[in-house]
Amino acid sequence: MRGSKGVGAEVTRRERVPGTTEGSTVDAGAGVVYAPPHDHWIKTLLDKTWFLRLVVYGALILAFQIVAVRQGPFFLPTVPDVLKGIVELFTAGHILVLGPTLQQLTVGFLLAIAIAVPMGALMGRFGFAEDLLAPWVNTIYVTSKESLLPIIILIFGLGFGYRVMVVILFAIFFPVINTAAGVRYVERELRETARAFATPRWRMFTRVYLPAAAPFIVAGIRMGLAMAIKGMVIAEIWVYIGTGELLTAFTLSPRRLHLYYALAVMIIAVAIILNELLKVAEQRLRPYARVQSREAL
């Protein structure tokens, strides 16, 4: 009987005979002439994902355009203006500001991973390291890292060090937590087999724990990257440098909102594309296992 309920529901839903009252069902095989499933073409279209997205996203962009035209460029730029703004960012040289921003983002992010993976591996492997570090990792992870900005400025000034430190501060937690979780759940058999072959301690990490935890680690790195970008933006808005300076300047006088939106769209696009690329890497690393989203961590 298992599954028959589902099949039955399917049949009653599909075989709605034209002409009968809406919602009344006809028992299949009760002597009624079989009517093939024949939905109206609009209904068929409405079940297509691409069509729904086209309509809704199109409507949103249209609404944006209408508001922009009615309220004027001082309130909202029109969609063509934003597209022109993207070109203008390049031709007017604003885009060059992103050079140092990306450089510091990269340095900070790589440093964060270089610290996070060994730290997470230690926490996952040794209960002592876990107990010692976990209170601080958990506390700073959940609290607002933004409030630490003034202290970082006091220590590192406003230059390279400040932005790199903020990126590390934002990016480090997901890789640490995920690496620790991944190493902690390395299968017992795997560990014992490796030990039976007298694997040295150091090699246990490089050949057993970290490879086994790789999918977790990459997932952590992916989420860390999103956080790194968030940290970068916050750091730069706080002290008006790089993208932060541009974003803020475009909204003040002379107000050039089309440039603001162009830059915002580009930053968001870069963030999303990088995230998707790392997602692909993550799936490659575990073709066998189900990809479990740990974003809700």
Partner: protein, 245 residues
Amino acid sequence: MKAGRWALSVGLFFAIWEVVGRSGVFLSVVPASETIPELFHLFGEGDILVAAQSTLTLAATGFLIGATLGVAVGTWIASSKRAAAVLDPLVNASFSIPFAIFIPVISIYFGLEFTAKVFLVILFNVFIIIINTATGIREVPSGAREMARAFGIDRWGMYRKVVFPWASPHIITGLRLGVGRSVQGAILADLFLRAQALGLFIVDAQGRFDIPRLLATVFFVTILAAGVMGIARLIEWRLLAWKRA
């Protein structure tokens, strides 16, 4: 054993802070022994408690709106394939979007006051609540739904008696994470939109270069946020007690 290590961890932190502060390597770090008395001094003045109350009110307002919105949208996404088709990409993208880039324009559309700040808090908390609610509801087994349907349950009863109870662990976890995001968003708003409440305390101490006061305030903010998170975790633990039984 565990408590001992925890105490060791806290002790080590203060010891390192004290040593770094006294060594003078970083001129701008004063040792813990000067910061903690300053914190008690701030408590004595009382203003910081009023500021904390103000920031937490902002967080609570944003949380209530964000939670209502998040649970509603999450339920909608999980129950309608069409809603999911349209909203899923947006919700997924929200994890990568640095919402702080909107800070400069939020003031154009919402001003610098309470409304703008609440908006920012909602941006911070709503997506994690949507995701968790949708995940929870999608995991309600169809068998449970069918059983209820066989007993002639109506739509409202289905949600109230089957779907929400079944999905509650996920929803509650989402709400707990939302609490943390709300506090974070509120502090960000009080720092980056018009500096007020705890944000003003930090900006003010920074402006006057009053380092003990700055460190004491930041320390207080961190402990406060961690405390709120701790309470949220405790409530989650109590609410989900039935699951452990």
